[in-house]
Amino acid sequence: MRLRRQRIAFPGGPASVLSLGRGGVPVLLLHGFAGDLLTWQFNLAALAAGRRAVAVDLPGHGESTLDVGSGRVADFAPWVERLLDALGLPLVHVVGHSMGGYLALCLARHAPERVASLSLVAPAGVGPRFDVDYLRRLPALAGMAEARALADALFARPSPLADRLATVLLAQAADPRRRAALETIVRASFLDAGETLPVDWAALPMPVQLLWGRQDRVIPVPDAARLPPPKPHRPSALHLFDNAGHLPHSEAAGPVTAILRDFLAACDA
C-alpha cells in the first residue's frame, strides 16, 4: 500500500489529504478542533485494508485552506462535499472525531446520499455538556506549560504522545493566521452556538455508531437519552473504552480500530 499526501484544488480549497489503500467503499476521516489529519496515525493503515482510507485537514487546520468562512462547523459540510466531488468519491463511510464528529453529522444531514455510515468518536453536538473553556484556550496558548497541561487533559493516563502534541498546539497558537482561524471557529461554533439540541437520529438513514473514552473530560459521555435509540439487532450504538480520554482512537487505538473495521465491513455486507 502506498501512502499518498495530496493537495486537492477545488472551490473553497485547497484541501490537504492523506490516502492509503484502494477499492471498496472508501472511508473518510475527519479530525477534531485544533488537530489535523495525523490524529489518525494509528488507525489509517488498518482501516485501509480492502478499501481506500482518506484523512483530510479541515479548513483552518493542517495544510488546508485557512479560510474558515463564517467559522460555523455546519458550513464546512458543503466544503467536504465539494472535496468528495474533487476526489471522485460518490459514497464514503465517515469517521469523525470531536468537532469532526459534529461535522460528520452535518454532512449526513446535508448530503445523506454520500454517507454510507457514520462512526462518531467523542463527537461534539450530541450531548449538552462540553468544556468550552478548554476549547477557548487551545488557540490562545501562552506557553509550553499551558500547552502541556491541555495536551495532558486529552488523555486518561500519562501519554508518550503528550509532549509532541503540546509542541504542535503551541506552534499552531503562535501562528497569527492559524490562531485567528481557530478563534473564529471558537466564537461561531462554541461560544455563540447556543444550546445543543438532541440529535434527531431517526432522520439519519445510514447506520450510526458512537465511540467514547470513559474518562473524556473535554466532551463527557452523554446520557442515554441523547444517544441513538436501541434496536432489536443492536442493543446499543455506543462503544465505551476504559482508560481512554478524549482521544480514544489514540489511547485505545487497537480496540477502536477493530470496532471501526468490523462496523464498516458489516455496513458493506
Binding site: M1, A46, A253, T257
Partner: protein
C-alpha cells in the same frame, strides 16, 4: 519475512541506505520517524505480516528493536 528482510524494509521506508538499521537505534534519533512513518510502519506490518499493530503500544516504542518486537519479528536474546 525474517529480521534481516524487515530491517531492510524499514531502511527503505525511512529512505535510508540498505543495511543502515541494526535494531539498536533510538527512534527519537531517526530523522524520518514521524507520524507519516508510523502510518507506513503499520501498513508495512499489515501487508507483509498480516498483523495489525496496536497504536497504543507503538506509541511507547523507543527503539527499532521495539518495532521488530511489535511486528512479531524474532529479536535475538
Amino acid at each position: 519475512m525474517d529480521r534481516k528482510d524487515f530491517l531492510l524494509a524499514l531502511d527503505e521506508m525511512l529512505e535510508l541506505s540498505p543495511g543502515t538499521l541494526t535494531g539498536d537505534e533510538a527512534l527519537g534519533a531517526l530523522e524520518g520517524w514521524d507520524s507519516l512513518a508510523v502510518i507506513s510502519f503499520i501498513a508495512l506490518v499489515d501487508e507483509k505480516l498480516n498483523k495489525v499493530v496496536e497504536g497504543e503500544k507503538l506509541a511507547k516504542a523507543k527503539t527499532v528493536a521495539d518495532l521488530l518486537d511489535l511486528a512479531g519479528v524474532a529479536v535475538p536474546a
